[in-house]
């Protein structure tokens, strides 16, 4: 059976490099309009780039180079808007492409950081991206001015047209792009004030929608190369186990099977997986299911047993202090009323819709991969490390991700694909994980519990608060060098004091509390944790904002007023909370049950007001959510709305259904039947208020997830008088929670 090559009709170009393997990927986003009577430039050689950020062809098609990954969050379109804005180009002729991490390396990292996470896609690169585009515009104008022999300062640009008013001459970007690319870049450029934006700041439609409506969008899973074979992998199901043996002879004669191979552990010694390489993935996968395999040496970890360690941490003497002021002990001693509650957050899987995959080709002097990755440069390093080849002999062709959510920052599946390609030099191998592999071998959102205590005085004022977090540190497992005297500062995301350092200023607590202690008893299970969209802000918001609700009711005060009393120093957070509450109908006597939450995360202020019904059978209907976001600067309001809406699906899926448990070291939830995700029947109407207050750049892909669950949990209390503190809700009867 011949595997059909899709390269030509999918917009790839195949060139012949020294090894015959150099293959580049053209932009997947084509311009949305082509003039029917456009001039034919096919006789001309293509223009050279203007600079690293911008290529402009003869027909004025502007190709914007995008270093960050597009995984659905819309960064690709937002960055292109920022470039087009500074360039003054025709938005209808903008397209994009990913420069490879190898090109970035060869050009002294001219495109900066490829890592796409932490809601940094735009806020972490807007300065140099806009400056790059402004420089390109200056060079285009200078090229036109040189041609006309007039001062550049007398020329203006708009919509890809350069005009010299004095002489009445005009030209287009495409005509001067080659000459512009020869000029020295300007020493200084200035970028526009967002108040003057015409393309950025507008609710432009995404550049990558069209191909997603017809099946034409190519994901990693869809890569087809000439002569490519397919692989399915099975990794040791038990934590820490290794491959002991397998009986290749039992499956080698099955249809399509080419090779059965052991696979090195990307993170440790020896082999911890076995893979079947076959003509088609289905053949590989079927043979893999039939393959007799034995494992050895795993860890019999159980989440049920680990509960005792988490509980121990809740009251342990030793803990890392993340935020402290005043005298909590004294405040508690003087309290008129003490309030206490304990909450949990179970392990979560990212569960990207596209399971992990990579296609790799290896020869003795070059290794290249096609990969959906959130971190192209880390993937490149992984290719070099796995292949043993110098990094200059490796490259990564990035493709759009079928979801990322933090999972695709890791390169375990990249290394495995390279190991497999090394088994068959010269033959492209596509490694595609099954859903079960993806569920079992995640980098799981860590599990924690929190015990929160608060002191109220006789007037219902909060006089002291202690939050003890117990549980897993992500940094201790993944980036131990980032620990500070053993402490994982990221555990306190959203709860840190201001002024610690610039890197965590976007993770600070916006409430002012007189007597405060927030500490963390680190309890690390042998489970591999990861950065899961929203990261530690998610559970910290539940711990803080559900407890603020409990305090307000214990104090006999309105939860909105109670929160605002502690937000006097944070008017922007107060503003989003008030906006969500007002639009959400907070305080109206219509018999509806509502809950509130506000947080500051990833540099943005976010809030939600949820409205729920608890049915007679104890089940939940989330009727409506109003969400308010102040990201400082809004590059594409329509895409911010989409991110906010989507954040409720991710956050509420975890609250309703999401839980990964381990028994005897093995993940119990191995597919969507047991690790369920919210369906449309459970999805509330979401209204989004975008209220950028200017002067800063906050992230939007993640912060709203944190307010989803607390707002709904607080609304459930308003509906039932019962507190849900044990997540996920799953089939809990909420009348008797």
């Amino acid at each position: 059976m011949a595997v059909k090559t899709l390269l030509s009709r999918r917009g790839f170009i195949v060139g012949t490099g020294a090894t015959g393997l150099t293959i580049g990927i053209l932009a997947s986003c084509t311009p949305s309009s082509t003039e029917p009577d456009a001039p034919d430039y096919s006789d001309l050689p293509p223009n050279a780039e203007v600079n690293a950020w911008v290529h402009i062809d003869h027909d004025d098609t502007v190709t914007v180079r995008i270093a960050r990954s597009e995984m659905g969050q819309g960064t690709l379109t937002g960055l292109a808007q920022l470039v087009a804005e500074e360039l003054d180009c025709d938005w209808d002729k903008v397209t994009t492409e990913y420069p490879t991490p190898g090109e970035n390396l060869a050009r002294d990292r001219i495109w900066g950081d490829y890592s796409t996470g932490g809601s940094q896609g735009i806020r972490g690169s807007h300065t140099y991206v806009r400056e790059g585009a402004a420089a390109a515009k200056a060079m285009l104008i200078e090229a036109a001015a040189n041609e006309w022999g007039v001062p550049a300062s007398e020329c203006t640009s708009e919509n890809s047209v350069i005009t010299h008013a004095g002489s009445g001459q005009t030209t287009t970007y495409g005509k001067v792009a080659n000459a512009a690319g020869q000029l020295a870049p300007p020493l200084e450029v200035s970028v526009k004030d967002p108040a003057d934006w015409k393309i950025a700041g507008q609710p432009k439609k995404r550049l990558d929608t069209k191909d997603k409506l017809t099946g034409a969008q190519v994901y990693g899973a869809d890569i087809q190369l000439d002569g490519m074979l397919n692989a399915s992998i099975k990794q040791a199901p038990q934590i820490g186990a290794s491959l002991k043996s397998f009986d290749a002879a039992a499956v080698e004669s099955m249809p399509g099977v080419k090779k059965v191979v052991s696979v090195r552990n990307p993170f440790g010694e020896g082999n911890n997986a076995v893979a079947v390489i076959a003509e088609t993935w289905w053949q590989a996968h079927k043979a893999l299911q039939a393959l007799p395999v034995e494992w050895e040496g795993g860890v019999p970890f159980s989440t049920t047993e680990f509960e005792a360690e988490l509980d121990n941490g809740l009251t342990a003497d030793e803990a890392f202090v993340g935020n402290m002021n005043g005298d909590v002990v004294g405040a508690f001693a003087d309290a008129a009323q003490m309030v206490e509650a304990t909450y949990n957050m179970p392990f979560q899987n990212h569960a990207c819709m596209e399971p992990m995959n990579t296609t790799a080709v290896y020869t003795e002097d070059r290794c290249e991969i096609w990969c959906p990755t959130q971190n192209g440069e880390a993937a490149l390093a992984a290719v070099s490390e796995a292949s043993g080849l110098p990094i200059t002999q490796c490259d990564v062709y990035k493709v759009h991700l079928g979801g990322g959510f933090g999972r695709r920052g890791a390169a375990d599946y990249v290394q495995q694909a390279v190991f497999l390609a090394m088994e068959m030099p010269g033959t492209p191998i596509k490694l595609q994980w099954s859903r079960e592999e993806d569920m079992i071998h995640g980098f799981f959102h860590p599990t924690t519990k929190a015990r929160v205590r608060g002191a109220l005085d006789a007037d219902g004022n909060l006089t002291g608060l202690h939050m003890r977090i117990s549980g897993q540190s992500i940094l201790a497992a993944l980036i131990p060098q980032a620990l500070i005297n053993g402490m994982d500062i990221a555990t306190f995301q959203g709860l840190l004091p201001s002024g610690l350092n610039d890197r965590v200023e976007d993770q600070t607590l916006k409430y002012s509390f007189d007597n405060l202690l927030i500490d963390h008893a680190m309890r690390n299970p042998p489970v591999r944790p990861g950065f899961w969209r929203g990261v530690n802000l998610n559970q910290n918001a539940i711990y803080l904002e559900c407890f603020m609700d409990e305090l307000a009711f214990a104090a006999g005060r309105d939860p909105l007023e109670f929160r605002l009393a502690h937000l006097k120093d944070s008017p922007l957070t107060a503003a989003v909370l008030q906006a969500a509450a007002e639009r959400g109908g907070w305080g109206s006597n219509d018999g509806k049950a509502r809950g509130l939450c506000s947080m500051y995360g990833f540099g943005s202020h976010v809030a939600a007001c949820a409205e729920v019904t608890v049915r007679d059978d104890g089940s939940l209907k989330i009727d409506r959510i109003v969400a308010a976001t102040d990201p400082g600067t809004a590059v594409n309001p329509q895409q911010i709305e989409a991110q906010v809406e989507g954040s409720f699906v991710y956050g509420l899926s975890a609250m309703l259904h999401g839980e990964i448990t381990f028994e005897n070291g093995e993940v119990q939830e191995q597919n969507f039947d047991t690790f369920n995700s919210m369906r449309i029947a459970e999805m509330p109407e979401v209204e989004t208020i975008i209220m950028p207050s200017g002067g800063f750049w906050g992230g939007v892909g993640e912060p709203t997830i944190a307010v989803a669950a607390p707002a709904v949990l607080n609304a459930i209390y308003a509906a039932t008088g019962k507190r849900v503190r044990q997540l996920p809700i799953k089939d809990q009867d909420l009348r008797n929670a």
């Binding site: 059976m1 059909k4 899709l6 995984m71 659905g72 969050q73 439609k205 995404r206 990558d208 929608t209 069209k210 191909d211 997603k212 409506l213 017809t214 099946g215 034409a216 969008q217 190519v218 994901y219 899973a221 869809d222 087809q224 397919n230 088609t280 993935w281 289905w282 990212h350 569960a351 990207c352 819709m353 596209e354 399971p355 759009h400 991700l401 079928g402 979801g403 990322g404 099954s434 859903r435 079960e436 329509q638 989409a642 809406e645 989507g646 409720f648 699906v649 991710y650 597919n671 969507f672 039947d673 995700s677 919210m678 369906r679 449309i680 029947a681 999805m683 509330p684 109407e685 979401v686």
Partner: protein, 150 residues
């Protein structure tokens, strides 16, 4: 060996009978618009039409097809993305990562073939596809817009 009618064309593929239709479409016919998501008919990314009805192709053995059925994939839903569901999806800019959307679009189009004016309750019962980016709120709006366009 199986003979199928896919997007109006008759094709013959050499394949074992128990191969799920999904992998025949993706790997034998190169129709990669239809996606693998779970393999157990849970998530719906693999949704295609068999005689106009939405089915989950990841658990549909090709041997269960007689060869007479009209199979429609996302690539064959329309010329130029002109199906009302595709138009509505375009107008509301629904896809985020987009991986689930071919399945979502085919599920909705299949529902509308059978029930051109679904109620919210019909949508809740019929559309059970998973989208982890979280387009679900817009999907409901998109279904209503597609009904208006039909």
């Amino acid at each position: 060996m199986a003979t199928l009618k896919v997007n109006g064309k008759s094709v013959t593929v050499e394949v074992e009978d128990d191969t799920p239709l999904l992998f025949v479409l993706r790997e034998q016919l190169g129709l990669t618009g239809t996606k693998y998501g779970c393999g157990i008919a849970q998530c719906g990314t693999c949704t295609v039409h068999v005689d106009g009805a939405a089915i989950r192709s990841c658990t549909y053995p090709v041997g269960a097809l007689s060869g007479e059925e009209e199979i429609t994939t996302i690539e064959g839903l329309s010329e130029d993305a002109s199906h009302p569901v595709q138009q509505a999806w375009d107008e509301l800019d629904i896809p985020q990562c987009g991986y689930c959307q071919p399945g979502m679009i085919m599920a909705v189009a299949g529902m509308l073939n059978d029930n051109p004016t679904p109620t919210d309750e019909d949508i809740d019962a019929e559309i059970t596809n998973i989208c982890r980016c979280g387009t679900l709120a817009r999907v409901r709006k998109g279904i209503k817009l597609a009904v208006d366009k039909s």
